[in-house]
Structures are given as C-alpha cells and as structure tokens.
Symmetry: C3
Subunit: 434 residues, 3 copies
C-alpha cells in the first residue's frame, strides 16, 4: 500500500459503549475504589444518586423475595411490597395461581391498592373506578373512547416464581434464569417442611436506619453476636467459622455443636432429609446458601431453653429436635425453619439510609393460637434480636456517613460478609454494561 | 457566481439559541416524550429539578390568582402568598390601591411579614426596623451611610391586576398582556356579583400530597364525581360532556339539566346577564373558561337540597335560583358564584409533591354570621369535596411516582384535562426559548 | 543550541490547575457575584451543594472552637461534636493530655460513641467490641486475621490546640499555623481568668433555623439590639460604633460608656491586665478580635442590674467590676468573661439552613450551685438573647431563600459583619486553589 492511497480502517472499530449516566459512572468509580476484603466505600452506603442507580441496576433486575404463598392463601388475597419506588401487588388469582402486577392504574396512574394486604374480588381503582380482573385484564372503564382498546390496558405484570412456598418476583423484562437452578438445589431441602400450606402466625415490619447492604452484611456474621443474648441461648456463636478459627472462649460451645451436628446429621439421614451445606454466594445472580444446623440447649426452636414454641410440627418431620434449616438468598432474604415453625426475613430498601425488615412467623395451618402457640413467646427472640440488629445497623450507617470513614478489613469470621459485597459488586458490574 | 468564488452565507445564520440549563433540557425532553391525549410523563409530576424549572418558567411568568379584594378591604390590610419559594405581599395602600411587593427586606433580606394576613401602618422589618410606607418606599433606616440612597431601596414591586374583585399577580418583569383581553371578556359576567365589595365568611387552607398539576387536572373532570356524594346533590355529573357522551345511567339527571339550563338562560336574559360559555383554554397565556350553569335540586346553592346557604344575595341578582357562574383560569384558579355566595379555589405549589389549595367563601358585606348564614353549613359541601379530592390527588401522586407508571389515555369525559396539560406544555415551550 | 536539537523545556510548565468540581465552581461563581459591603449572594446561604463544598473547604481546614478543657476535667472524660457530617471525639487521655479523634471505628466504620459527653476507660466500639486505649491505639480486636496489623488500625487523630483552657480542633492534615500567633496575642488576656480550671455550670444547645453564617453575622452587630431588652441592661448598644457614628438617641448611654471605659482601663492597668482591643478579622485564617469593655449599670455581670451572678470570682481578678473580656474567633466562636463567670458560644453547621449554637457557662471550680450561684439566674439573659437571635436568624434565612432576595448594603454599624463575610470569602478563595 502506497502512502498516497487512502487508508482503510483495517479492523472495524469496537462498538462504542453507550455512555453511562453520571450516576452510573459514579457507582462504577465507587466500586473501582473498593479494596477486596474490606468494607465498601462510603458513597455506596450514603449517596442518594448511587442508591437510585442501584435500584435500577440491581433491585429492578434480580429475583427478590417477597413473602410466602401462605400470605395469599385464597383467590383474591394479595400483599403489596415496595421495592424502591415500585409497588408490586402479589395476589392469588381466581384460578389459584399466584400472580404479580405493578400496583398502578393504566388510566392516569393512580395507586391501585393502598393497603399492605387484603382481599379483592376484582381490582378496582379508587380514582375513576377502572376495574381489572385478578388476572390483570381491564374489564370495566366507563366512557372509554371508541379508539381506545381495553385489551391494551391490562395491568403490567411482574415475573413471579414460587419455590416450595417461597415467592420471588423479578421486575426485569428478562429475569435471570438461574432461579431454576437454585430451585432445583433448594427444593429438596424445603419440600418436607410444607411452607406453602403453612399459615402466618405473626408479621412485624421494622424500619432500620441504615442502608440495606448494612442490614444484609450484619446478618452474614456472628462476630457481633455478643450483642444478642437471647439468640445465643440456641444459636451457636461459632456459625460461619472454620475449625481453626474457633476462639478458645467458644471451645465448650463448639464441642456441644460438634456432637449436636453429628446427631442431627444422623436424624436427617434417617428421614431422608438432605443435610450438606451448599453455598454459592458470589458467582450467580441468585447467590444463596442453604444449610442445616443443630441448635443449642434443647435444640428444637428459638426459645430461651431451646424447647418448641409450637406444639405441632410444621410439615413432615419426625420429632422436634431438628435444629434449623437456614437459607440466605441475595439480595434480600434469610430464613430459618425449625420443626415447629419457620421465620422469614425480607429486606427492602426504603431510601439510601432506611431499610424495611419484614419478619414473618409461619406455623402449621391447623395450629391454634392460644392453644398450640403463644404469639408473644413465638416471636420474642427474633423481636429482641431484630431490635439489637437495628441498633447495630444504625451505628454503622452513622459511622460510614462520616467523612473520616475509611473502609476497614474484615476479620476471619466475616467471610460471608465479604462474599455478599463481592456478589453485590459483581452484579452491578454485570448489569451496568448490558 | 462561479464555483471558484468563495461562497457567502446567503442568509444570516439563525441566532444561536442560548444553551439551556440541564434542568430545562430535562423539562423539554419530558415534554417531548408526551403523547397527546395521554397523562403527562412521570418526571413532570415527580422530579424536583423539573419542578424548580417550572417555577421559573411558568409560575414566575404567568398571571397567578392570589385572592379577592375582599381580603384586603382597608388601607394597610395585607395577605401573603408563597409562589414556590417567593413570598408575595398583597396589600391595600394608603391611597386604597391594591399593590403587591416581594416580602423581602432590602437590607439583608429578612422576611418582612410572617403572618398569612394582617394589617399594618407602615411595613416594618422585624430584624433592624427598616420601615417602608405602604407604597413600598423606604422611609426609615437608622444609621444608613451617606453613600447609600434610600430611594434605591424601595420594596421590589410585583405586578397586580384586579378584575371585578379578583386579584392576579405576575412575578415577571414583563407580564403577558392578554390579561386585558381576558378581563374584557369575563368582567361582564362578574360585574353583577360585586365580588369586590363582598366579605370573607371563611377561608380554609388544605395541603394536598400531590403535584399542583394533578390538583388542576382533577378539577377539570367530573369522571371521578362518584367520589363526591355531597357535591352531586347539586352538581350535574354530566358537566363537560357533549350530548352524545352522556351515559345511560346519567340520562335522568341530564334531562333535568336540560330543563334547568333553558330556564336559567331565560332568567339571565331577563336580567341582562351574559350566559354563553366561553372557553379559551389552550392557546393563550391566561387560559380560561367562563360559564353559567344550572344546579340540581333547588338550584340555588351548594347545599344538600340546593337551597340557599346565605339569606342575602351577593350582588345585583334577581332571586336566588341563579345556578352558578363558574370560572377556571390557568394556572391556578377555579371558582363558583351562586346568588347567595361565592367560593374561590387558589392553588399554589409547595413542593414537587405538595400543593396548597386555599378555599375562600365570600358573602355580602352586610350578611351577619349566625343570622344570615352559618359558617359550618356554608362550607360543608366543599370541605367534604376538597378532602375527597385531596385523597384522589394523593393516590395519583403515589402512582405516577412508580417506575412502572406509563401515561394512560384520557377518556371522552376528560377533554378539559387534556386542554389543561396542552396549555401547560405550550406555555413551557414558549417560555423556554425566550 | 541548534534548531535540530530536541528542545528541552526551558522552564517547567505551570502545574495545570486541577479542574474544580461543579460544586466548587458554583461556590466560586457565587463569591464572584458578591458586592463588597453587601450581604452575600443567596446560594451561599441556601444551596446544599455549596454548603457541602464549604464544609470541605472551610470547616475541614480551619481551626474550630469545640469547647473548654473544663468540659473534660478527668482522664477518660470526653465530648463529641459534629462538624458537618464529621463527628469528633475530644477526650482527656490517661496521661491527662487532651486529644481528639474521629469518632469512627477502624473496622467497618461504626460510630464509636453516641453520647454528647461521658467518660470511658477504653474506647469500645458497640458493634464488634473493637477496643482502643485513650491514646487511640487498637488494643483488642478478636479474631483479627494474621495479615492484619493492629498498629495500622489506630483511631484517626484530629489536631487539637488548647489556649488557656479554650480548645480548638482542626480536621486538616496540615492545619494553618497561625493558631500559634493568635495564642501568643490572646493568652495574656485570658491567663488571669483561669478558664482551664473552671467548671461547667450549665450548657444549652439551641438549633437555629438558618445558615451558620447568618448566625455569625447576627452576632457581629448590635444594630438589631433593640430586640434584646434583657441584654441592653448591661451591654452598651454603641458597641462597634466609631465616635462619629453614635446616634443621638444613644448619646446618654455613650456618655456612661466613656466614663466606665476610662475607669475600667485604670482598674486593668492597676492589675496588670492588658486592655487594648486587638482586631485581626479578615486577613488571617484564625480571624479574631479580643477586647475588654465595660458593662452598663453595676458593671459586673450579665444580670438585669449588672450585679454579680456568682459570689466567687473566676480566676485571679481584683473585685467584680471588671466589665467583660470578649473574644470573637472565626469561623465559630464568641465569648465573654466577666469577673464572676464566663460564657462561651460555639457554632456548628447542622445543614445548609440549620445551625447549632452551644452556650456554656463556666464558674470557679469551687463555686457551689445553690450557694454561690443559681443556674436559672446565671443563664437568664443569654437564654433570652439566644432565643431572640434565633428568631432573627430564621427571619433572615426565610428572606434570603426568596428568589426576590437581592444582597443589600451594610450600614455603618455593620463593619464587623462585613469583616466576617470578607474573611469567609478570602478563606474559601485561598483553599479552593490549593
């Protein structure tokens, strides 16, 4: 080729990346500033713009736990949940299918239902009485002009997936499909416990004064468990530690754990219940950890002496000394299933520094309040523990908001916290370039 | 001209547009995203930056209704109003002229008067006692240096225009002059009712949890009037509908309307009162609609049976069965004048999602409370109706704030809502390029 | 050097200025818009972004008054202060040294102490029990991994400087060194008064609804003192005026001042107390004014008749008729020392339109409450005066937030206000280019 000939581009230029919004660029810069093994840079906990970008890039794209099918037992029953500024209505339709819709009228956008839960025949907008059937079709809209097709004005639906009574929704048009893989793995653990046919014994909403990630991080370690005297009656404080990490002062407790663990493994084997911990926290969209674990003292339930709180078993288990089946799923779920009851924790961001924790206690559908269980006693340990955790999260939020905050190192006991923030960083990075 | 000659620009290039601020550009983009015949895109109801741009481009440029001259009957009487963050003081000066000033001291900017209404001799700043006469001149400022000219420190005045007792202000340096055209058209409708010499019987401020446009839109249709049981005792629900749009279930009411309308037209003709509806909502700065309309039941006033609420007529009308004279003016006024009283509604933005609705009831200056009227009875229907409307507006604000909100189609009954948003879009577009 | 030789840069190119953040550029633009001799442009009082930039450029770089050593008399005693979003813990360590730390745990950033004041043995984080000695070293952190060096995890320290019992901190890594010059000048004024060994008789926090600069400006003039009837019992209203500026109505008071001033000068000379006013408000980082001044009536203290409020002298003075020693230091301090007590005022920004004023009354350490003094009586005049000032500041904040606000001229009596805003502008300009 002579110098006089016009040059042709030898290779096509790379497709230009779409320019990021300033918010997303700031989010990426904050992630770039992260040191692995350390807590996150401050803006990820405190900046309202980054929080907004996170709502779009994570909460509107991942599978989010919203409750259990026990909360919508009958056709027309619904619950509503706020995921950021999005309100989602989860209801059982007239064909007994669980569906989810955006809680917004297709006319001029009024909020459709304003209660946290309830029951409806049709879904009727309170403003101009537009009426939708439980499958979302617009069935009544007075004086609609001739050029407006009601068929185009159905409620906007939201993906919903039930796994053994656990309900997840995804606001994305194209949800991550790994929910199916996760379902295959965890369903055998949950099937015997019949969460889908349980009933709600109690539900408490608590708003914590901190970013939702601090709430999740706090849940992923027992390094702070000295602050949970009630919980420690039955919860082994060495949870999450490798053998060599167990400190001397916990040695006696750990010996009890080892014995109880071996015994529980046997009991599960005898009943055909899967036992091994499966943990896949970082690399998949629906990062999760499922585990069975013994409990201390009587080993049955979250009471102070470890004895049962409900006099009927929940599901198909043999005896009450079954420890707990635990599930952690990212971004927003943890739960425990004992032989007598289950307790689920769902986390929803309310603002950059406000987080809703909804705790729900499930018991066998035939258990009778006042006879088989007492609500105060059933809920006591986790009510106390939640309040203590809320105080910890508030302390953390106040500190990371200080200009002098420098991300600090996780200790050996905080490996799952590190896994959670690594999952978070990976998900944001994946989604930001889509 | 040969091809070799250098080309001259044959026409001068268009003057380069000033670059828009990011806020104004975002406002324009939101307007560009609007589908005619549909509710507005979400950011126009929810984005604080767009709200700020709107305050500058609309509320600080258009004529805004602030009350009636009945509220400032005597020299020194004043009312203050917040238009966004601007506080305007409307007062009657010592020469009985109504004037308006920015409620800000010329010294170091202190707020001058802090009450909603009151009466003053001079206007005295509470901070350092700078004193202004009622025509705005600085008449006392102790220890002012010799190089400071008090004549340059008069209060900053605001344009004010009275139309038959209705007071409008404009914050712009060069107000739109179509207020004169509007005055010419509507003055003959209002002159007989003597609003200028009425007295205030009651005034109620209500803050709605919604954007001010939702408040105005809500007022422009009776599609939601099933939610106003009290109002429907006298207000024909077919208001705003063309003959062919009247639904079957309203047919009986509509027959009553047709009879009452014909009768009222005759009564007005007999008294020389103009009757035809004049509507010019979209194309002019001070978009308006003036109309006379019969009322249902006894046809006299906003009571449950339609009978008068005040035992004296307001102004120069013959008998009480005069239906109502209605005026809607954009951006922020609607009102009704019955034979016995008038009720005005002024709308002021408090924030992007907060709106003040000030409702004022006017009666004849010689009417005696407790004798000629009872305040509770006089205000009941509109108190209830306002509360109902506030709930509708709050529903709408919550829904349009949801990321899933999609602007929906107006029905045939919502033509005036469409006119209002079209007016809004046109005004913003006009002003944004000035 | 031939033209063919590669050129060497003959002089180093000027270091390219770092581009300013948009916030800092906006701050600079607002300062550019300032007219000398006038109040500041509105955004400097109202814009949250500019406030944030100001926190970084002024409050995190200048010496800030935080209290007196009387507030931390014993080892382990501490107070915490919020400077913007930074919380600073000032404590006396085990070696009786006053130290200051950022109140943030080095682990995951939790707030360390949450009380305004208290006493500790070690500093223990409430989250995971990380424990620091009073000199800031991390002395206990369970299960810290082997690759984490506790020596690198001491509390982040803050510079602290005590001048005769007055405590100043500086959040900058390299504090302005003129604090030493100021200390040399003012220490002789304060030494006789023994503030360092006083005790706290009362402390009151008041949050004013205005920008902190309005709080400081308000303090720098007595032009508004007609609004302080209690204070004027003893405070000469002509404070800050030159002889020719004294208005006729204050002539009688001024004659009393001149006599009292001459007498006080003599008394001070007799006791070897420095008397001349020294004012260096604009040109140095720690702008200050120190002065002795007589008080009206009995001339002893801030009571209504000017008589002493405490029956013991504070420090080494001869008799009670000592008027007041005043200090103003920028950005955030003013104080008065009478023979019987001292009262200090510390100003901290809470938000762009919220400011904390902390008032502290100090008396001799051996004075006994109920015997030597009554707290209500001791604090009365300044409690009233502070409330009045808070109302003035709120009026000013409301007005400068109005789009119609135009900076107005300072009168002859407001020279020190002008000095303060000039200092402010100079400091920001200096720091913005560093």
């Amino acid at each position: 080729m002579s110098l006089l000939e016009p040059a042709l581009d030898p290779v096509p230029a790379a497709a230009p990346a779409r320019p990021l919004t300033p918010q997303r660029e700031a989010l990426l810069r904050a992630l770039d500033a992260r040191t692995p093994g350390h807590s996150l840079p401050a803006p990820l906990y405190t900046d309202p713009d980054l929080h907004q970008a996170e709502l779009e890039l994570l909460w509107q794209r991942q599978w989010v736990f919203v409750g259990t099918s026990a909360e919508v037992p009958e056709p027309g029953d619904y619950v509503t949940l706020d995921i950021g500024r999005a309100s989602v209505m989860v209801l059982r339709d007239d064909d007994e299918q669980v569906r989810a819709f955006h809680n917004v009228c297709r006319h001029r956008g009024a909020r459709l239902v304003t209660e946290d839960k309830g029951s409806v025949g049709n879904i009727v907008c309170g403003y101009h009485r537009w009426t939708y059937s439980t499958d979302g079709r617009l069935v009544h809209a007075p004086q609609l002009g001739p050029d407006i097709d009601p068929a185009c004005l159905s409620l906007l639906s939201v993906h919903v997936r039930e796994i053994e009574g656990l309900l997840f929704v995804c606001l994305a048009a194209d949800p991550p499909d790994d929910v199916e893989d996760v379902a295959r793995v965890i369903a055998p653990y949950f099937a015997p416990h019949h969460l889908g046919s349980a009933k709600v014994a109690a539900q408490i909403d608590l708003v914590e004064d901190g970013n939702w990630k601090l709430t999740m991080e706090n849940n992923r370690e027992c390094y702070h468990c000295d602050g949970h005297p009630d919980l420690l009656c039955t919860f082994f404080q060495t949870w999450g530690l490798a053998e060599h990490q167990v400190p001397d002062r916990m040695r006696a407790s750990h010996e009890r754990f080892l014995l109880a663990d071996a015994e529980l493994a046997q009991r599960c084997a005898a009943q055909g219940l899967p036992y091994p911990t499966i943990s896949d926290l970082v690399d998949r969209p629906l990062g999760f950890r499922v585990e069975r674990s013994p409990m201390d003292a009587a080993g049955e339930s979250f009471s102070r002496d470890g004895t049962r709180l409900v006099q009927r078993t929940l599901g198909d288990v043999d005896g009450f000394r079954m420890g707990r089946l635990g599930l952690h799923a990212q971004p927003n779920l943890w739960l425990h299933v004992c032989a007598d009851h289950a307790v689920t924790f769902a986390v929803f961001p309310v603002g950059v520094d406000k987080t809703l924790v909804r705790t729900t206690w499930l018991v066998d559908a035939d258990a009778v309040e006042g006879v088989d269980y007492d609500v105060d006693a059933l809920t006591e340990v986790w009510r106390h523990t939640n309040e203590e955790d809320a105080a910890f999260v508030a302390l953390a939020q106040r500190g990371v908001s200080d200009p002098a905050y420098v991300p600090g190192p996780y200790t050996e006991t905080e490996a799952q916290v590190d896994a959670f923030v690594s999952w978070y960083a990976a998900r944001i990075r994946e989604e930001i370039v889509r």
